[in-house]
Symmetry: C2
Subunit: 345 residues, 2 copies
Amino acid sequence: MKKVTMADVAKLANVSKSTVSQYLNKRYEYMSEETRKRIARAIEELGYQPNIIARSLKQKTTMTIGVIVFNILHMLTTQVLHAIEEACQERGFHVIVSNSDDDPEKERKYIEMLRAKQVDGLIIFPTGKNADVYQKMVEERFPLVFIDRMVPGVKADAILLDNQKAAALAVEYFAERGYKRIGVVAPPPVSHIIPRMERIEGFRQALAKKGLPIVDDYFITTEIPYIQNELARLFASGRLPEALFAINDLTLMEVLYFIKGNHIKIPDELAIISIDDVPFAHVYTPTLTTIAQPTFAMGKKAAERLFLQIAKKSEHQPQIFRFSPTFIERGSAKEKNVIRKREVT
Amino acid sequence: MKKVTMADVAKLANVSKSTVSQYLNKRYEYMSEETRKRIARAIEELGYQPNIIARSLKQKTTMTIGVIVFNILHMLTTQVLHAIEEACQERGFHVIVSNSDDDPEKERKYIEMLRAKQVDGLIIFPTGKNADVYQKMVEERFPLVFIDRMVPGVKADAILLDNQKAAALAVEYFAERGYKRIGVVAPPPVSHIIPRMERIEGFRQALAKKGLPIVDDYFITTEIPYIQNELARLFASGRLPEALFAINDLTLMEVLYFIKGNHIKIPDELAIISIDDVPFAHVYTPTLTTIAQPTFAMGKKAAERLFLQIAKKSEHQPQIFRFSPTFIERGSAKEKNVIRKREVT
DNA sequence: TTGTAAGCGTTATCAG
DNA sequence: CTGATAACGCTTACAA
């Protein structure tokens, strides 16, 4: 498959490459109707397709951005990706998606590769463990925005949920309905995963603020695969809380699985609120009360901030954006201690 | 932000660009220990990063493939994308993801753009409406594989579910358990969306084969937003079937929503089987009997076939791969007409 | 209004 | 073992 190049078109149309180039870049203002047509015909005839790689080399811009996610199967990821893709589409950008699998090594390698490929900017759901690499990028003024997680000390744009508020929303809702023994389910808090810390800490503080007991046993913070065990142990000992706050969709799934396996009734025996408005929340029985992240808005904002940086690399003031969660009241948490008839919610 | 190039490294190391190039491509066989070290040091010192764009221009290969999906929020898409990404990762390829939104125009534009960007191949979840464009690619021997849907007349690799079998699996399961009035829920059958046709037709044929009545009213084939209405109309008229086959995750959600709104009992009043093993199938009440697509295997296969084509463009025999669905028996369809105690499944 | 020629940062082909 | 030198396909001054 002989690639046809600009030179071929030029030859056929009897003009020079530069004229063809002008044509392609729609600068036909100073071009005779005549030549324009000849070029158009030549292009048509040869089935010419410009080679953007060559152009990129010259222009030093690829109209491509990279997105590195740490968990491509996470619901938040999918939705944010969707928003980013859409925003890019509008501006003629393309998106290279890479999955770091929450492995800092992989993440580092991807950043390097993507930059070698000359992407115009990077949106990262950071593992949090490559502060040096991130820092280098901001020093070089390479367009960068973090999303979902941020990295302390690295002065870059970050798009985050107001995690503390999300936790408070859950606790307050429970508290106002008479729940006292409230637990949280999360992966282990580790210092470089900020949202996790904020959600767990926010939960603790909200509890304190409401004057509710803080019981260590009710902090189920262990890796996803062990959550079942932990929950089972509590249950067996008869010390299960009355309400549970699941800090994301993955932990929610574990909680639901546990509940199902043990024939526990929601919300009567155990009330549930989770962050992330899972797609089946409204068809589940009972319907699930959740705290939604504005995923679409977040993705869009991330893209916008990136474009801003790309447009004027120099004086960009990095900023942290906290998005407010939305409380979606459904049926998995209700007034406590009220006898009601059995109903489908 | 002066980009440091190979020339800079060469100068600092006191060698020529070609030598540096050799070094970068790990051809140090014929290189003195001495120069190698000098180059390494120079690279280190300058923080040199190769520019892959330049290399691509020369080598005519970008180590990048494009994936065009028609619905980025569909569960199948997410999972297949994950598999593709992983396969690419292993071979050092990158993936540009684009969403055609099932709009042929957009799809066409994307194909063009991506090819202009010199991607080494394309994996497409086709809208089905751009036969001419697809055809041109196969004629040019441009690496291409279709997934999920295929395009009649276009001789390209296609990775598909055995849709007929999937439908038969559902019908047989229902039939063997005494269900007679079985319906299907799907978007409208249109000739260019093959899996839809195959699933609906497969359903019809399986019904015939089992000697079950084929009732027009039980073919609920309308756009997603109208499914509720359609279902409601049937329900109001008292002619709701005993069992429903949902042809994908999106239609399943509609069915579940309807059921929930009308307090219908699964499986006693209405049994359900769907294609796509939704993530909440095992925590739903009752648990959901589904027909899973081997999404991961399909994505992997798609990538493999594409790499095969990329490796030896010339003699590639296009092939259609039919993947067998897996029946996952859970609780949303049971023996019919048997009184059982109420149980949590 | 159009052509010439010099890059862009690599790789590849040959000499040396 | 190393170095010139010519591509790769396009853009962009600068001429004409």
